[in-house]
C-alpha cells in the first residue's frame, strides 16, 4: 500500500552521490573534551560514510544520554538525540517502520548496559538491522565520574571512593548471550581497524554490536592502555580474523590453543607448538564466539578484538514485511469498509 511517504521517497536522489568525509561534517563545534576517545570514533565514521554508497539522507544516527549521546550532532546526516537508555527503542521503531534507512545507534556503557540494558538484550534477540556502537569508557563521564556497569571491582570513582563492589558486565558476552548475530570489539587508538569493523557492521544484515574502548581522559584515563597503546597492545590483545589461526604478540610468537573448552596461550618460538596447532577463528561458530568472548577479563589471556561472531538470521524488520506480504498474497489487500463492518452486523 503506497503512502505519502513512499511517493516522496520514490523521487530519485538529485545531488551528487560521490561524497568525501567532509560532506558528513556539519558546521558545529565538537564539544567533547580534548583527547576524548569518542572523537576517535568520529573520523572513522565520517570516512566510512562515503564508502557505503548510499545517499546521506538515508542515514540516521540515534543516540541516548551520556557523552556518546552527542555523536549525532557531529554527523551531517539525519539524527535523533533521545533520552537515557532508549536509543534502541527509538531506532528499532524507526528501522521497522523504514527498512530503507541505514540506522546507527550510538550509546555508552552506562546508557546501554545500565538504564538501557533491557532494550539492549531485546534488540539483540530481535535482530533488527541496527548498527550499535557502544563507547565503553568504564565510567559515567557526563555525570562526572561514577562507576558504571563495566567498571571493574575495586575501581575508585566519585561514587565508589572505597572501591566499587560490583563485578562488571562483559559486553560482548552479554550480546552473544542475548542472541546478537554480529559482535565485535575495537578501540579508539586504531582508527583504520575501527573503520573496517564499522564497515563490517554496516554490511551485516541484522543487529550489529560493536564495543569500542574509548578512553576518558578526565575520569578514567588510561583504563585501556594495556590493550590500546602501541607498546603493549600486541602482547595483550589478539585480533581475530576469520579462517586464520589465533596468533598474537609483538613478534607473532604466541598463539591460542584449546585445552578442552579452555583457551590457553602457547609459545611458538620454543619448538613445542607451531601455528598449525592453533585454534582457527570461525565467525560462524557461535560456541567458539562464547569461548573467545570469555577470554575478556582473564589475566593470562590476551583480550580478543575484532569480529567475534557474524552469523545470519533474517532481520526482524524483514520478517515484518514478509508477514504483511504473505497476508496480502493469501488474503488480498484489506478492505477497510469490510474491516469496519466486522463479522456480524445488522440493518436498521
Amino acid at each position: 500500500m503506497k503512502t505519502a511517504i513512499d511517493e516522496i521517497l520514490e523521487k530519485p536522489h538529485e545531488g551528487n552521490l560521490i561524497y568525501t568525509a567532509k560532506d558528513f561534517k556539519p558546521n558545529v563545534d565538537v564539544r567533547w573534551c580534548a583527547g576524548c576517545g569518542a572523537i576517535s570514533v568520529l573520523s572513522p565514521s565520517q570516512r566510512l560514510m562515503p564508502e557505503l554508497g548510499i545517499p546521506k539522507e538515508k542515514i540516521v544516527y540515534v543516540s541516548g544520554i551520556g557523552c556518546s549521546g552527542r555523536f549525532p550532532y557531529y554527523m551531517d546526516t539525519y539524527g535523533f538525540h533521545s533520552i537515557h537508555g532508549r536509543a534502541l527503542g527509538i531506532a528499532s521503531g524507526l528501522k521497522i517502520a523504514r527498512p530503507d534507512l541505514s540506522v546507527w545507534v550510538v550509546t555508552g556503557d552506562g546508557d546501554n548496559m545500565s538504564i538501557g540494558g533491557n532494550h539492549f538484550i531485546h534488540a539483540c534477540r530481535r535482530n533488527v538491522d541496527l548498527n550499535i556502537m557502544m563507547f565503553n569508557n568504564e565510567v559515567y563521564s557526563l555525570t562526572k565520574g561514577q562507576y558504571s556497569p563495566t567498571s571493574h571491582r575495586g575501581q575508585i570513582t566519585k561514587s565508589s571512593p572505597l572501591g566499587a563492589l560490583d563485578d562488571p558486565f562483559n559486553p560482548v558476552s552479554l550480546a552473544l548471550g542475548a542472541g546478537a548475530t554480529f559482535v565485535a570489539r575495537g578501540h579508539d587508538k586504531d582508527r583504520n581497524q575501527l573503520q573496517q569493523l564499522l564497515k563490517r557492521a554496516h554490511e551485516h544484515k541484522g543487529v550489529s554490536f560493536v564495543e569500542i574502548y574509548t578512553n576518558c581522559r578526565i575520569f578514567n584515563d588510561g583504563a585501556f592502555d594495556l590493550y590500546t597503546n602501541a607498546e603493549t597492545r600486541d602482547n595483550h590483545t589478539i585480533f581475530l580474523e576469520h579462517g586464520k589461526p589465533l596468533v598474537f604478540g609483538k613478534t607473532k610468537n604466541k598463539g591460542i590453543i584449546l585445552d578442552g573448552y579452555t583457551p590457553k596461550v602457547v609459545n611458538l618460538d620454543q619448538g613445542d607448538h607451531s601455528v598449525s596447532d592453533l585454534l582457527i577463528h570461525n565467525e560462524k561458530d557461535s560456541t567458539l564466539a562464547f569461548i573467545l568472548a570469555n577470554m575478556t577479563y582473564s589475566e593470562d589471556l590476551p583480550r580478543p578484538m575484532g569480529v567475534l561472531q557474524a552469523i545470519h538470521r533474517t532481520p526482524y524488520e524483514e520478517r515484518v514485511v514478509n508477514q504483511i506480504q504473505h497476508e496480502i498474497t493469501t488474503k488480498g489487500e484489506g478492505d477497510l469498509q469490510g474491516l469496519l463492518a466486522g463479522e456480524s452486523n445488522w440493518l436498521v
Partner: protein
C-alpha cells in the same frame, strides 16, 4: 398454558458464573441479538483479574451485563432485572443489585454443599427465605440437557460445555428473541465440527423449550425497536473502536500506521486487534516494556509513520519521560490510556478516571500536550481520528483517555462509510531551500516536518532544548523561555480548531452538570430524567480536556453552581477551579465501577432541593 406478553421500555440482564462458565460469551451473544432486534444496547463485562480463579469462589465470579431498550440506553444499567446465576457465589455477589421482584434463573448444580460453603451461605438460598420477593427459577441444567438431548446423542463432556447456551435459550424465550443470530454464529464458529454445532444449537432450543413448557415461566417480555437512524450497525467495544480508528486515521492521512505497545489490562485488546490487521499494511511491535513501546512509536513517527502507543495507568507512568521527548521534538504521536483503578497495580480489571491530572502534569518541566476523552465505546473511533488530526496538524503528541468501562463495554455502532470520513492532512516539508526543523507555521505554530530520506534536509532533533527556528541545541536562557511559551501557545491555539461545548437544557441558570469521558452515559441519563420531571438543570459533556473548548468560560459564568461527577477524587474539578476560578461541587466514586445514573439523579435532586454544601 397461555403465556402473557408484556411490553417493556428497557431491561437489564446479567449473566454470572465462574470464569470457566462461558458467561462473557453468552452475554456477548445476548447483546448482539438485542442489537439485531433493533434495540439500543450497552454492556458491561465484569470479570476478575485472575484468569481461572478457583471455582465457586466469591472473588472468582465472572459476569456480563446487558442493558437494552427502546431509547436512551446510555449506561450498562443501574439495577438487574434478570440474573442468571450459575452458582451460589454468583448469586451472592449480585443480589444486592437485583431489582426487587427481579427474576433469578439459577442452576442448582452450583448450589451443592461445597458451592454453598464457598459462597459462605449457611443454608441454601434457593430453599430458604433469602429470595422471598423475587421470581426464582431453579433448575438442574445438566439434567435438563441430558433429557432433552437424549435423541441427539451428546457426550457428557460436551454437555458440560453447553450449559451456558441452554441458559441463553431460556433468556431468549424470556425476551421473545429470535434464536437465529446465535444459531448463525454457532454455525460459523464451529464450522466443520458438525457434532459441536448440533449440540450447541440443540442446547439453545432446549433452553427455549424448557421455558416455554415450564409453568413457572408465565411472562414473556417484548422490547420494541429503537428509533435509531437508519443504517448498518454492529456492536463495538471502545478498544475495538480505537484499533479501527487508528487504521482508518492512517489511511485517511495517507501514512503508514505503526503501533508500539506492551500488554496491559484493560488496553491489550487494542494490541490484539492491530496485530491481526497485517493485510491492511499495519506494522506493530510488541515491545519489551512500556518505555520501548512508546519509544519505538516515537522512532516510527520520526520516520514518517502515524505512530501510536496504547497502555493503561501503570504503563502511562512509565511512558511519561518519553512523552516529554515527543513534546520537545514536536513529533506527531497518539498515546492511548485505557484507565484502570489505581494507584500502582490497583485493581487492573476495574475502571476509574484517575489519570486526567497525570495526563496534564506528569511530565517534568513545562510539557503541555492535548488530551481528548472518549465519551463511549463508539466515540472511541471518532476521538482517535480527531487525535490523529490534531497530532499531525500541530506536530504534537496527543493523549486519548478511555477507561476500562468503555474500553470493554460494547454498544451498537453505526458503521461509517470510509469514503465519507474526511481526509487527514500530514504536513511534510519537501522544499529544502525553505527548511529549518523548528521553523513554524504562523497560524498553528506547527514546526516543519522532514523525515529521513528527504534529500537536502538532514537535521538532528532530540531532547535538548532547541534554538527557535534552526533547531540547533541551545542552552540560551531567553531562547528557552521563548520555546517554552511557543510550545504552550501551540497547544492553546488548538482551542480555535475544536467545536464549542454544547449546553443541553437551559442556557443559563442555577445548576450545570458537567461530565467527561465515560461518565457521559450516567450523567446524560440522570439529566434526561431530571428534565422529564421538570427539574431545572443543564448539562455539558466535555471531550476536549486540554485545551478546553473556548466557550467553556462563558458557559461557566452563566450558572450559579457547577457539579462534576467523576470516578476519581475531583480531577476535572481541580482543573476547572484552577483555570476559571469557579467553585465546583464534586461527586466522587472510586469503587472500580461506573456511576449508576440513579446515584447521580439522587445527588442532583438533593442539590436542587436542599442547597447542599460543597463536597
Amino acid at each position: 398454558m397461555t403465556k402473557i406478553l408484556e411490553h417493556l421500555e428497557e431491561a437489564t440482564i446479567r449473566f454470572a458464573g465462574d470464569s470457566g462458565d462461558g458467561m462473557q460469551l453468552v452475554g456477548t451473544q445476548f447483546s448482539e441479538t438485542a442489537g439485531f432486534a433493533g434495540n439500543e444496547v450497552n454492556t458491561f463485562p465484569d470479570y476478575p483479574s485472575e484468569i481461572r480463579a478457583p471455582e465457586g469462589t466469591l472473588y472468582g465470579v465472572s459476569a456480563f451485563q446487558v442493558h437494552f431498550g427502546t431509547r436512551n440506553i446510555h449506561t450498562s444499567g443501574d439495577f438487574i432485572d434478570v440474573l442468571v446465576a450459575m452458582n451460589a457465589s454468583s448469586l451472592k455477589v449480585n443480589l444486592t443489585n437485583l431489582r426487587k421482584g427481579g427474576i433469578i434463573i439459577a442452576n442448582t448444580e452450583g448450589f451443592d454443599a461445597h458451592n454453598l460453603a464457598l459462597a459462605k451461605y449457611e443454608t441454601n438460598p434457593l430453599e430458604d427465605e433469602t429470595l422471598n420477593g423475587y421470581e426464582v427459577h431453579s433448575l438442574n441444567i445438566t439434567r435438563e440437557l441430558k433429557s432433552s438431548l437424549k435423541e441427539v446423542g451428546v457426550s457428557s463432556k460436551l454437555i458440560a460445555k453447553i450449559k451456558n447456551i441452554f441458559a441463553l435459550g431460556i433468556t431468549y424465550w424470556l425476551f421473545h428473541r429470535s434464536m437465529e443470530p446465535t444459531a448463525n454464529w454457532i454455525n460459523k464458529k464451529f464450522k466443520g465440527k458438525d457434532d459441536v454445532i448440533l449440540a450447541n444449537v440443540s442446547a439453545l432450543h432446549a433452553g427455549w423449550n424448557y421455558a416455554e413448557r415450564d409453568e413457572h415461566f408465565r411472562k414473556q417480555y417484548v422490547i420494541d425497536r429503537s428509533p435509531l437512524p437508519p443504517g448498518r450497525y454492529r456492536n463495538i467495544t471502545g478498544n475495538e473502536a480505537i484499533a479501527l480508528g487508528l487504521v482508518v486515521a492512517a489511511r485517511k492521512a495517507n501514512l503508514p500506521l505503526f503501533l508500539g505497545s506492551y500488554p496491559i489490562t484493560p488496553a491489550t485488546d487494542i494490541l490484539h486487534s492491530i496485530s491481526g490487521y497485517k493485510k491492511y499494511g499495519v506494522k506493530h511491535l510488541q515491545a519489551e516494556d512500556e518505555i520501548a513501546g512508546i519509544c519505538s512509536a516515537i522512532g516510527a513517527a520520526f520516520g514518517g509513520s502515524l505512530a501510536a502507543t496504547t497502555t493503561s495507568g501503570p504503563g502511562l507512568s512509565l511512558k511519561t519521560e518519553a512523552m516529554g521527548l515527543a513534546v520537545i521534538t514536536e513529533l506527531p504521536l497518539i498515546v492511548v490510556d485505557v484507565q484502570r483503578a489505581g494507584p500502582s497495580t490497583g485493581i487492573p480489571t476495574k475502571t476509574e478516571q484517575g489519570d486526567l491530572l497525570m495526563g496534564m502534569f506528569s511530565r517534568h518541566g513545562e510539557a503541555p500536550m492535548p488530551i481528548l476523552a472518549a465519551s463511549g465505546s463508539g466515540d472511541c473511533f471518532d476521538i482517535t481520528l480527531e487525535a490523529a488530526r490534531i497530532a499531525l496538524k500541530y506536530m504534537t503528541p496527543v493523549l486519548i483517555l478511555s477507561d476500562g468501562y468503555i474500553g470493554q463495554a460494547s454498544e451498537p455502532w453505526k458503521i461509517p462509510s470510509v469514503n465519507s470520513i474526511p481526509e487527514i492532512k500530514a504536513y511534510f516539508t519537501t522544499d529544502p531551500s525553505n527548511f529549518a526543523p523548528y521553523k513554524r507555521d504562523e497560524q498553528t505554530l506547527r514546526r516543519q516536518w522532514a523525515v529521513p530520506g528527504f534529500e537536502g534536509m538532514e537535521h538532528r532533533i532530540g531532547g535538548l532544548e532547541k534554538e527557535d527556528g534552526s533547531g540547533n541545541v541551545s542552552s540560551d536562557s531567553i531562547n528557552h523561555e521563548k520555546m517554552v511559551r511557543l510550545r504552550q501557545e501551540k497547544i492553546e491555539r488548538i482551542a480555535n480548531d475544536i467545536p464549542d461545548a454544547v449546553v443541553e437544557g437551559e442556557q443559563e441558570g442555577d445548576l450545570l452538570l458537567i461530565s467527561w469521558g465515560s461518565t457521559y452515559g450516567a450523567a446524560k441519563t440522570a439529566f434526561e430524567r431530571l428534565k422529564e420531571k421538570g427539574t431545572p438543570v443543564s448539562f455539558v459533556h466535555l471531550r476536549y480536556m486540554n485545551p478546553f473548548p473556548k466557550n467553556l468560560a462563558s458557559i461557566l459564568d452563566r450558572f450559579q453552581r457547577v457539579v462534576i461527577p467523576e470516578l476519581n477524587m475531583g480531577q476535572l474539578k481541580l482543573l476547572i477551579q484552577a483555570k476559571y476560578l469557579k467553585p465546583v461541587i464534586g461527586i466522587h466514586k472510586v469503587q472500580g465501577k461506573p456511576f449508576k445514573s440513579v446515584e447521580l439523579e439522587e445527588k442532583l435532586d438533593n442539590l436542587l432541593t436542599q442547597k447542599v454544601e460543597l463536597v
